[in-house]
C-alpha cells in the first residue's frame, strides 16, 4: 500500500520538521527504509508501529544523536545531517526530548536535573534559575520532590521530571519516546493531560512515539503508522479507522481480523 499523501495541517502550517527518504541501518539490519514525514508548526504527530520498527531511532535521528545513512532531515528549515557539532548543538537547544526511561541524571537531585540545561545554556542569574526550576516543578506537580534523587521517585514521577527538564529551555519542538509506557492508566492519563496542557498553553510542536493508541488519539492532530521501516499510512485517527488495510485494522483493534 502506498503511504497516504498528506499536506501538513491542510497547508495552513509550515513544516517545522521534515524527514525525507531517510535510510538507517545498524550493521546488516536495515531499520529505516526511506521514511518520509512532515510535522507542521504547533502540530502533534504520533508515530505508531510495532516494536523494532525504528520509531525511537527516528526521534534520535531528528535530534542528531544518530546520523542517517541517506536522506534529509530538516528542523526549522535547517538540514541537520550536514551541520557541524557546534551548529547541531544550537538546533538541539530548540528541541526538548523526553526519553523512554526519562534518563534523569541519577547522581543529581530532581531540582539539579532541571537546573542542568539552564546552568549550561542560559545566562540567567542563580535566583532566576531557582525561580524557573520552581515554575517547572509546579507545572508537573512535583514541588515536594525537588530534593529527591531519581532513584527515590516512581516511574511516573521520573517521566514528569523528565518532561519538566525537556521544557527547561522553552523548546519549539518536543520529542516524546514512549511517554506513557510502563505507567498505570491514571499516571499515563496525567502525562497525556500535561502534553495537552503544553499544546494549549504554548502551541508546541510535538512528535510522540508510542504504542498507546488511546493516548495517541487523545494528544495527536495526526497519526503516522510505521511498518517495516516505512510509513505505511498517516492521517487523522478517523482516516486510520476508515482504512481497509489489514495491518492498520489489526493495529487499531489489537487483534487479527
Amino acid at each position: 500500500m502506498q503511504p497516504t499523501q498528506f499536506t501538513p495541517g491542510n497547508g495552513e502550517r509550515a513544516p517545522l520538521v521534515q524527514v525525507s527518504l531517510v535510510h538507517k541501518s545498524f550493521g546488516n539490519q536495515a531499520v529505516l527504509k526511506g521514511i518520509d514525514l512532515e510535522v507542521g508548526q504547533g502540530e502533534t504527530l504520533s508515530v505508531l508501529g510495532r516494536s523494532g520498527t525504528g520509531k525511537s531511532v527516528l526521534l534520535k535521528l531528528i535530534i542528531g544523536l544518530h546520523k542517517p545513512d541517506s536522506g534529509s532531515i530538516r528542523v526549522e528549515g535547517e538540514e541537520i545531517t550536514r551541520l557541524s557539532a557546534k551548529a547541531l548543538n544550537e538546533v538541539r537547544k530548540k528541541i526538548g526530548f523526553l526519553f523512554q526511561q526519562a534518563a534523569l541524571y541519577d547522581s543529581l537531585t530532581v531540582e539539579e536535573n532541571l537546573a542542568f540545561p539552564l546552568r549550561r545554556h542560559s545566562k540567567i542569574s542563580e535566583e532566576q534559575r531557582k525561580e524557573r526550576v520552581r515554575e517547572l516543578l509546579a507545572q508537573v506537580g512535583m514541588e515536594r520532590d525537588a530534593h529527591k534523587l531519581p532513584g527515590e521517585i516512581s516511574g511516573g514521577m521520573q517521566k514528569r521530571a523528565g518532561l519538566a527538564r525537556a521544557l527547561a529551555l522553552e523548546p519549539d519542538i518536543l520529542l516524546f519516546d514512549e511517554p506513557t509506557s510502563g505507567l498505570d492508566p491514571i499516571t499515563a492519563e496525567e502525562i497525556c493531560n500535561l502534553m495537552l496542557q503544553l499544546q494549549k498553553e504554548r502551541h508546541i510542536t510535538s512528535i510522540v512515539v508510542t504504542h498507546d493508541m488511546h493516548g495517541a488519539r487523545a494528544v495527536s492532530d495526526r497519526i503516522a503508522l510505521m511498518k517495516d521501516g516505512q510509513v505505511l499510512m498517516q492521517g487523522t485517527f478517523d482516516d486510520l479507522r476508515k482504512s481497509q488495510n489489514p495491518f492498520v485494522k489489526q493495529f487499531l483493534n489489537g487483534s487479527e481480523e
Binding site: 544550537e90 526530548f97 526511561q101
Partner: protein
C-alpha cells in the same frame, strides 16, 4: 620479528587456510580467529579515534573547570586511603624480602638504600597505577556504562552538551594529574613502613635510615619514575571512558564495561611500564 608482522602473518595464514578444503568446524574456528584478530585492531583504531576527539575536546574552550575539580576530588582525594595502605604494605614486603637476601650476602647495611630505591623507582609508581586502575577504571567504566545504557549520555547530548568534554575529558585530565600526587603518597608510606619494619628488628633512627637510603639518589632517580605515572593515568582514563561510553546490553553490558576497563587498563599499564623503564634508563641514566 616485529609483533605486528607476526600477527599479520597469522592472519594471512588463517585466511589462506580457510579457503582450502577444511572441515566445517575447522572453518568455524578459523573464522573465529579472524574475527578476534579484526576486532583486536578495530579496538585500537576506535580508541585512537576516541583519543583524538578527547584531545580536541580538552584543548578547546569552553573548559569544564567545575566538573574537573569534582572529578579530581572524586578520583583523587577518595583514593588516598587506598594508596596509603598499598604503599605501607609494599614498604613492609620490600623491606622484609630485601633484608633476607641482603643478610645472606652480608650486605645488610645497604637495606635502607635498596628499599628506598626500589620503592621510589619502581614499586611505588607501579603499585599506585595498578591500585588506581582497580578503583578508578572500574568506577569510571561502570558509571559511564550505566549512564550509556540508561540513555543519560544521549540525554546529555540531546541537551546540547559535549559529552567528550563534560564526561570524558574531565575524568582523563583528573586521572593524569592525580597519579603523580598519589604516587608521592605511596612512596612516603612505603618508606615510612620500610623504616618501621627495619627498626623492629635492627633499631635505627628514621634520620639515619633516610640518610642511608637517599645517599646517592638524585632528582633524575626520583622525578622520571614519579612523572611516568601520568602515562598510567592517561591509560586508566582513556580506556575506562572509552569502554564506558560504548557500553551496550543493559546490566550485563555495564558489568562487562567495568571488568574490561580494569583488565585492559592494568594490562596496558604493565606493558607501558616496560617501555617507560627502558626510555627512562636511556635518557636519564
Amino acid at each position: 620479528m616485529e609483533p605486528l608482522t607476526i600477527l599479520c602473518s597469522i592472519a594471512a595464514l588463517a585466511h589462506l587456510t580457510a579457503e582450502r578444503g577444511l572441515l566445517p568446524f575447522q572453518k568455524l574456528q578459523l573464522q573465529k580467529i579472524q574475527r578476534s584478530f579484526v576486532s583486536f585492531f578495530e579496538w585500537f583504531g576506535n580508541v585512537g579515534i576516541f583519543f583524538g576527539r578527547l584531545v580536541w575536546a580538552t584543548i578547546t574552550p569552553p573548559y569544564e573547570g567545575k566538573e574537573f575539580l569534582r572529578q579530581f576530588d572524586e578520583l583523587g582525594a577518595k583514593s588516598l586511603p587506598l594508596v596509603a595502605l598499598a604503599g605501607a604494605a609494599t614498604g613492609v614486603v620490600i623491606t622484609l624480602s630485601t633484608r633476607d637476601s641482603l643478610v645472606r650476602f652480608g650486605a645488610k647495611s645497604f637495606l635502607p638504600a635498596v628499599a628506598i630505591f626500589s620503592i621510589i623507582k619502581e614499586s611505588g609508581p607501579v603499585i599506585t597505577g595498578l591500585v588506581i586502575s582497580g578503583r578508578v577504571a572500574a568506577g569510571i567504566g561502570a558509571e559511564l556504562g550505566a549512564m550509556k545504557v540508561t540513555e543519560q549520555i544521549d540525554a546529555m547530548e540531546a541537551s546540547a552538551v559535549n559529552t567528550y568534554k563534560y564526561l570524558a575529558a574531565t575524568r582523563v585530565v583528573a586521572c593524569v594529574l592525580i597519579l603523580p600526587l598519589l604516587t608521592l603518597v605511596t612512596d612516603f608510606c612505603g618508606v615510612l613502613t620500610g623504616w618501621l619494619t627495619h627498626t623492629l628488628t635492627d633499631p635505627i633512627s628514621l634520620r639515619l635510615f633516610l640518610d642511608h637510603g637517599f645517599k646517592g639518589m638524585a632528582f633524575k632517580d626520583f622525578l622520571p619514575p614519579t612523572f611516568k605515572t601520568m602515562v598510567f593515568g592517561l591509560i586508566i582514563g582513556v580506556v575506562a571512558c572509552f569502554q564506558g561510553m560504548r557500553t551496550s546490553g543493559g546490566t550485563e553490558g555495564v558489568e562487562r564495561a567495568a571488568t574490561s576497563s580494569v583488565v585492559l587498563a592494568s594490562l596496558l599499564i604493565i606493558l607501558a611500564d616496560v617501555l617507560l623503564v627502558r626510555l627512562i634508563l636511556t635518557f636519564f641514566s
